[in-house]
Amino acid sequence: MLEQKKGDNGEAIAKSMLKMAELKVPVIAIVIGEGSSGGALAISLGNKIFMLENAVYSILSPEGYASILWKDASKAKEAAEKMKITAKDLYDLKIIDKIIKEPEGDFDKLANNIKKEIINSIKELKKLSPKEIVEQRYNKYRQMGEYKKLDFKEKK
C-alpha cells in the first residue's frame, strides 16, 4: 500500500504481465475463487488457464460494474448476469481452456481433479521448446477478441 502512495499499482500490473509473457517455462493459471480486474490478470498470463466450476473471473466486481455502467451499484445482480463471469461463460468465450469439476463437499476429490489437470498440462507443454512455449502463450492471447467487418469511412 505504501507503494500505491507514490505511483499506484498500474505499472506493477503491466510489469508483472510483461514478465510472465517472457517466461520460457510453462505457466498454468487456475482461477479458484473470485478473480477480478488487473490484479487477477497480472498473475495469470498462462499457457493454460483453468477455472474451477464455481469460480468467477471478471473485469470488475458486479457492484463496481453496475455503478460505472448504470450508475447504480444495487443492480449488481443484473450486472453479474450480463457480465459473463462464470467458468462456462469464459470457456465459451475461449478465454479458458478447461473447467475443473468441483464435486460437492469433497475437497480431496477436487484437489485430485486439479492435480490431474496440472500433470496433464505439464506433460503436454513439456513437448514444446522454450521458444515454442513463449509462442504458444502469445498466440493464445493474440486471438482473444472476435470481430466483424466495419463499414465506416473516417472523415478528415
Binding site: 499506484d8 498500474g10 457480465m83 469464459l90 470481430y147
Partner: protein
Amino acid sequence: MIVDKIKKRGPSPRKQVNNVDIQVGKWVSCTNCKEILYKEDLKNNSNICPNCGAYFRMHINRRIESIIDEGTYKRFNLNIDNINPLKLEDYPQKIDKLRQKTSLEEAVACGTGKIEGENVVICVMDSGFLMGSMGTVVGEKITYAVEKAIKLKYPLIIFTVSGGARMQEGIMSLMQMAKTTEAISRLNKAGLLYISVLTDPTYGGVTASFASLADIILAEPKAMIGFAGKRVIEQTIGESLPEGFQTAEFLLEHGFIDKIVERKELKHTLYKLIKLNK
C-alpha cells in the same frame, strides 16, 4: 476502469482542461480561465488556451497533424468492429452515434508516418470516444500496430488518453491488456524503440498495460495518470494521499515517467529520441 470517477472529479485548479476537442461550432469556452475562444485560434495554438495556457484534449486527427510530417500519415486499414460480446442492448447504437459525432472509427487510430523525416508507427487515442476506453477493437489495433512496427523495424509511438478497459465488452476488454502486453514483449525482443506519451487522463487498464511498458515514457504537463482513481484508493486504504498524487509531475519525481514535455515541443523531442536511439 474508473471512467465515472474521472467524470466526477469536477472542476479543479489544475491547468489540464476536461474540454473535449469538439468538432461543431466556432466558439468554445476555456474551463480553466472561462475565456471565450475562437476555435480556429485554439487550433492554431496546438489546442492550448492562448489566454491561460491550459491544455485542451486533442482529437486524433489534430494530434496526428501536430506530430506527423504533412502528407506522410498512412492509416492501417483494419476496418473491424466489435461483436458486442456481452450483447448489451444499447452498446452498438452508442458506438454508431459516437462514430458520427467524432468521425472516428474507434478510440484509437494507428498507422505509419514520418516525424521530421524519421519513419514511425504511431497510435493515437481519443478521449471523445467512450473516454478512450480499450475494448476488443482498441486492443486489436494496438496489437496490430506493434506487430507492424516489428515487421517494418520502425520505432513505435503511442499517445495515450483513456479511462481504462471498456466495461461494455467485459472480460474481453480485460484480456486486451494481456494481448497488448504480449505484443510489447515481442517488440522488446526485436530490440525496437517504443515511446509512450501519456496525456490527460490516462487510467485503468491502459496504464496497467502498454502505456507503462515503453522504453521511454513521456507525459504532457499536469496530465493525470493512474490505475484507480485517487478517491477510490483513499477509500480502500483508509488514508489520504499526498498532494499532487497521480499528476505527471508527481510521477516524474518518483521515477514512474522519464520526462514531461510541453505539447509544442513533443514533435521535436520525439525526433531527437528516435535519432539518439538509432
